[in-house]
């Protein structure tokens, strides 16, 4: 916010920032530093061999591809849901709006069990898909569906407020100039939504890469095919290989951090655009 000055008349800077940094340090930074320090127990070669092992590489691929597809699906459908919720009126809208938050609240394990039950070959939907030759549970598609469930609120909830606050005037102007609805959407509305869409996409993506609880039930955990990276961390732990587990964790942490940095860059850019307008 450009209004704030370096020397503000407002009180509480020392207290609030001090507490923020103190709490952030003891809750997040120091514990996460443990991962780095634990990894230093490995030599560079050991580290490199651990994190580039064929199965580990395959798990990155599975995690990345499923998280990416899920985030893409959420990008499209999340925008659609947000659009419908903001712009249209239909009975039960409030209820539908609340439903969007439920994936936050439902324990991931329950989500995993419930989704597996539905999409397994003998489940409600799975049994309908078997005759078509489509397998969902225990394939990457199943993982993707679990991740769509987990990531949905991120996209909807980042796009919704922006859509809500969108100026009508530019739209009106576009109509006045004779633009079709679709063209108006593409040329006028969509560009304004892009920063928030990207933010939502990136958050859903980052969350999806790390998700464990809901995925292990539906993935089938086949090495090289449906084995996700968090599961490999678990596997290393069960073999008492702490250094190996933290090595993979370190790779994931770095990836998460980069993701977030990109998110915040978009956020910052969209904020700047908002204030310069």
């Amino acid at each position: 916010m450009k209004g704030s000055k370096a020397r503000s008349v407002l009180p509480g800077f020392g207290l609030s920032l001090g507490f923020t940094i103190f709490y952030l340090s003891i809750m997040v930074l120091i514990p996460l530093a443990g991962v780095f320090i634990k990894t230093t127990g490995l030599t560079w070669d050991q580290f490199w061999n651990t994190v580039t092992n064929a199965r580990v590489l395959a798990s990155y691929r599975v995690s990345l591809i499923t998280a990416l597809s899920a985030a893409l699906a959420n990008l499209v459908f999340g925008l659609l849901v947000a659009w419908v919720l903001v712009r249209y009126r239909f009975p039960g809208k409030k209820l539908v709006d609340s439903l969007v938050d439920l994936p936050f609240a439902l324990p991931t394990a329950v989500a995993g069990i419930a989704l597996t039950a539905i999409y397994a070959p003998n489940g409600w939907i799975g049994s309908l898909l078997v005759p078509l030759g489509i397998k969902v549970a225990f394939t990457p598609i199943g993982i993707t569906i679990a991740l769509i469930f987990i990531g949905l609120p991120f996209v909807v909830r980042t796009v919704q407020p922006v859509l809500q606050e969108l100026d009508n005037e530019t739209e009106e102007a576009a109509v006045m100039l004779g633009a079709y609805r679709w063209v108006t959407f593409r040329k006028v509305i969509l560009p304004q939504l892009i920063p928030s869409l990207l933010t939502g996409f990136a958050l859903a993506f980052a969350r999806g890469i790390g998700e464990y609880g809901s995925v292990v039930f539906i993935s089938g955990n086949m090495p090289l095919k449906t084995e996700i990276t968090p599961l490999l961390i678990m596997t290393k732990l069960e073999q008492y290989d702490y250094a190996g587990a933290t090595a993979i964790a370190l790779v994931m942490l770095t990836a998460s951090f980069l993701m977030l940095f990109i998110i915040n860059y978009f956020q910052w850019r969209s904020n700047r655009r908002a204030t310069t307008e």
Partner: protein, 376 residues
């Protein structure tokens, strides 16, 4: 407001907030600490001199306050220990006039053993395989000679690996080599995360080795082929059972004998049947007292009695009723119809030791990993 007073005011406030916060955190820690302490008031005097068990025992015998044990076990023993805990509590009450409550924790064997290593205060561990107890012993929680502490290699009950198939055995599965027939799907958990799955794997390996006159390459080919028939690798034994039973996946489930019986009896007598292969493995789920914890809590006497009592006739009957193979000959005789005799491999004779089997087959880069290495 002058700048000076403002500054001091806020630094004081920051201090206050930080202090409150610190107290809250410390509170979480200490409430629990004290909660734990009340549980073992008896052992309090001995807490300071951990290891001095004799003193701990005498003080307990005179006072007889209620005592609490934590049994950290693996997944399939829930039903067994639920029944056994009541049996033992009654016995202990009668014998020593002391109330004992046993808390249970269940999970995958490896996960449970790791929890104990990381500080879960288990008095006794009852896990799926010796390797997991060895891992705890390695960190100094259990004396390394634990396997000699109790009878029969510290395994009060044994089990084996059987094949659970769908009713009528539509795929005609009789033995291990039927598992690699073209249209057969096999369900087993992941040997890297599940203790039970390691027994499955070793039984299959042992079978192939015998069939091929000890040719390890042939054995490797066999297990590689076998795991090509596995569509889902759950992380634990119970997960696999659910996949097979509830989700209807696969034609055959490799399972503990006791799990197989449980599935048949609990989940559908008319849906599944058990097939005994020509050869299997003697699975010995071992038990041990966690020396470090019992010494500091002063619960050694009751913990040892808890495990020893497993070998008595009443307990062995319970064991057999829960489909584990009893060690006691008289009880085994009684239940001999339930547990058919078959050719059983053992870890020590056929695989050297758990350490050897682990490093050869299941460690990173071991045979199991090679099966799943691209290009092999």
């Amino acid at each position: 407001m002058s700048n000076l007073t403002k500054k001091t005011m806020f630094s004081f406030r920051s201090f206050l907030v930080l202090a409150v916060f610190a107290i809250v955190l410390a509170g979480c820690g200490s409430t629990n600490g004290s909660g734990k302490a009340t549980n073992n008031d008896a052992g309090k005097a001995t807490n300071e001199t951990a290891g001095n068990e004799a003193a701990g025992n005498t003080s307990k015998e005179t006072q007889k306050p209620a005592v609490e044990l934590l049994n950290v076990s693996y997944d399939p023993t829930r039903e067994l220990y639920e029944a056994y805990n009541t049996l033992f509590a009654d016995y202990w009450k009668k014998e020593k006039n002391q109330a004992v409550t046993i808390k249970q924790s269940h999970g995958g064997s490896g996960k449970q053993s790791r929890a104990v290593i990381d500080g879960l205060k288990a008095d006794v561990v009852t896990l799926a395989l010796g390797y997991d107890i060895d891992a705890i012993a390695e960190k100094g929680f259990i004396n390394t000679d634990w396997q000699k502490k109790f009878e029969s290699n510290s395994s009060p009950y044994t089990s084996t690996i059987v094949l659970l198939v769908r009713k009528g055995n539509p795929k005609g599965i009789k033995d291990w080599n039927d598992l690699i027939k073209d249209d057969v799907e096999v369900i087993t958990p992941n040997p890297k995360t599940s203790g039970g799955a390691r027994w499955n794997y070793l039984a299959a390996w042992g079978y192939a080795l015998k069939q091929n006159g000890g040719d390890e390459n042939k054995a490797k080919e066999f297990v590689a082929e076998l795991f090509k028939h596995v569509p889902v690798l759950d992380s634990g034994a119970r997960g696999s059972t659910t996949t097979f039973v509830e989700r209807g996946l696969g034609d055959v489930l490799l399972a503990w004998e006791n799990e197989a019986y449980l599935s048949v009896n609990e989940l559908g007598k008319d849906k599944f049947e058990i097939v005994y292969p020509s050869i299997s493995i003697l699975a010995e789920p071992p038990v041990a007292v966690v020396d470090k914890v019992t010494d500091s809590k002063g619960t050694r006497e009751v913990a040892e009695a808890y495990l020893n009592y497993l070998y008595t006739e009443e307990a062995q009957k319970l064991v057999a009723e829960n489909y584990y193979r009893p060690q006691l000959a008289s009880v085994a005789e009684q239940f001999k119809d339930r547990f058919p005799q078959l050719d059983l491999l053992t870890i020590d004779k056929d695989f050297g030791s758990w350490k050897e089997a682990q490093s050869k087959h299941f460690a990173d880069g071991g045979v199991f990993d090679q099966i799943y290495t691209p290009g092999s």
